[in-house]
Symmetry: C2
């Protein structure tokens, strides 16, 4: 076990992963959310995705959103892309941190991307070249890293093999997605440890869903391994964990609240973040599944 | 850090702590819930409390409920009492495991029990004598062990001092309540470690609320310390964590689901338990805040 980190970097994914899994909201509301998040002190924001508007109408206005957003120089913004066409749009829009997804389980990859994991990995190799040529950084997100809703358990060896491949192809960073909330602490330990066997110094980021209540337990287990990067979604935007088939992103304010009480710095002002969670709730027009939003921090000033 | 335990004992508190914090339900529904829980394989159930019906109308029919319930010889049932009058009722009803509460923070104790913590401790000393004379066992639950909604942080030394006192007075067991969901993993480590300094072999049970999403992280931290006893409430019965002022008991099926995936035995059949959570939901007539109830286990057969 490594020492508990003193600082953690949160990537706020509400504007992209969150809103992509909600009913479409107006462009202006997306810009307001993005701008409000830029003022929370969070270090990184996944701003938009450049996908086909027929596939994901929620992101059809990605260019307009990004053009209108106030870009804070203190924040690192990233965009998700499904292919080289999306990557080119992201580059043209000015992004220099770009994410692409592949699933550890073949069935999930086929359902999500309509091709095999191996085919996706070949595409990603070309995409990494495209991004590097343009001077951008490429992050590969390995979905279903802790379990697949179609195939069940996913062996850490399969996750590690994907990491080996994308690192060999030049990926700058790797993230691990608990796509449907199947991670539990020992699975986090198993995947992180297995990946580090071959790549002890690779920056890795964990993305948990709270579908079955385990998200903060998983964060805690990862912190004990010295992991310092986590995705989270303001208010838990992106599908209520209590609705069937919902994604259930862990709420940023729940992650930040626990980290601060543990004495771990995030740079985020929790009170400001809770205000933004309230805004997110207004934007989607329903109660969001965040306990810290509902109950407030454990002490009146949560920092 | 101790080795992770291979078995954990869950005490199901839905029939008492759960229903006490919901709108009153009919006696027959309480009996149905209790009997259904007795068939899940759970080892312990907090069945009822013997309190003044004006103070807590939800438990006014405790005698009838307990009389009608099928008592499974494989299950240890307990009752909560506020004072010696309630203790006598519990003894008369046939209970031999009886719980009594005191708050670690004086303000909470005064608001909850209308007397100081020290006055409560004196009452408890007499109550332990009464129970022991009758051949029953006494558990003292230390509420607000991880924080108080009125006083804020609670020093582990205060919790430890209460434990010292009640153990000296003969308490057979001690439990620690995270009454309003203020616990986080390092606070769990601090309280458990501090209490064990003076009482290394005392059986201790932890009772977490998921008000701010930390319940399973707290369970995980406690498991790493070798703690093997936890309270949990079927479906998360006992106040939705998303409603203001709600208690937010951690859902039994979320605890069991995580433990089983960690290879830790509980004796509980998760599928049966989820059926009972569904029954609990019907009984209270609203959606309960349990992710595992909503989404099902991570694999179709959760054991």
């Amino acid at each position: 076990m490594s020492a508990m980190p003193s600082k953690v970097s949160i990537r706020e994914v509400g504007p992209r992963d969150g809103l992509q899994n909600e009913d479409p909201v107006p462009t202006g509301a997306k810009v307001r959310l993005l701008d409000a998040l830029s003022r929370t002190g969070v270090g990184r924001i996944e701003a938009v995705s450049f996908v086909h508007p027929k596939a994901i109408p929620q992101m059809a206005d990605a260019d307009e959103v990004w053009k209108a957003a106030r870009k804070d120089p203190a924040v690192r913004y990233s965009a998700l892309v499904p292919n080289s066409r999306g990557a080119q749009r992201a580059l043209d829009a000015g992004f220099s941190e770009i994410e692409v997804v592949v699933s550890a389980s073949d069935t999930h990859n086929r359902r999500n991307l309509n091709r095999s994991t191996v085919e996706s990995l070949d595409d990603i190799a070309a995409l990494i070249d495209l991004l590097h040529t343009a001077g951008a950084r490429a992050e590969v997100i390995v979905a279903t890293s802790f379990g697949c809703p179609y195939e069940g358990d996913v062996e850490p060896d399969r996750v590690a093999a994907i990491v080996d491949r994308v690192v060999a192809d030049g990926a700058d960073r790797v993230a691990f997605g608990d796509t449907t909330g199947m991670a539990t602490p020992p699975r986090v330990v198993a995947v992180v440890s297995r990946v580090r066997e071959n790549h002890p110094d690779l920056p890795l980021l964990l993305h948990f869903h709270n579908t079955r209540g385990t998200a903060l337990a998983n964060v805690y287990a990862a912190l004990q391994l010295g992991v310092t990067e986590f995705d989270a979604s303001v208010g838990g935007l992106g599908g209520c964990p209590y609705a069937p088939g919902a994604s259930g992103n862990v709420a940023t304010e729940e992650v930040v609240h626990m980290l601060h009480d543990m004495g771990i710095e995030t740079g985020v002002d929790l009170d400001t973040l809770i205000d933004v969670a309230r805004l997110a709730q207004e934007i989607v027009g329903r109660d969001l599944p965040s306990g810290v939003l509902r109950a407030g921090p454990r002490l009146p000033s949560g920092r």
